[in-house]
Symmetry: C2
Subunit: 99 residues, 2 copies
């Protein structure tokens, strides 16, 4: 499994509307093939900065299968208008298991 | 609870040594007051890029209590020499609970 981490910046005045849009898009991730978990975190230091964290079976499950799906189109339609800049997307895997 | 997210960049050639240093520093987080969880994730897209993810009772538990502690000094002594640039630290909280 890998985890998608997308850093997103929006206008802080739109925070409530953006978070509602993400919640509205969530069911499309829940049914996406290879999607394991989904959440949105907001920065407490920098208003308007968010981190979308989504677990996938593989990078391809996200970048190939999901990006070609209707679910991605819905996600972008609902949330894209809020993005101040293109989200910065990274895929991470565990390096130190920790506690 | 809040989560510290520190983005760290190192020389990819030092990956194994850096990850070992983080594992060596981990016990100092385990005993730190107000520390809830700890892990290190590595980027699969960009070698040498990491995300340290640490849960704390509050921002102050991290920025005031831990940063003044011996544990932080040990962390910095073990891992600081690997940093290519100062880590970019953010604190996040849940915005959309997800699944």
């Amino acid at each position: 499994m890998i985890t998608e981490v997308a850093r997103i910046e929006i206008d802080p005045a739109d925070a409530a509307a953006f978070e509602a849009a993400v919640a509205e898009a969530m069911p499309h991730f829940r049914v996406a093939r290879g999607c394991r978990h989904f959440r949105l975190d907001r920065s407490v230091d920098r208003p308007g900065h968010y981190q979308l964290v989504v677990g996938w079976d593989s990078v391809d499950a996200h970048m190939v299968d999901f990006r070609a799906s209707n679910g991605f189109a819905v996600w972008r339609r609902l949330t894209g208008p809020f993005f101040r800049t293109p989200p910065q997307v990274d895929h991470v895997e565990r390096a130190v298991e920790g506690f």
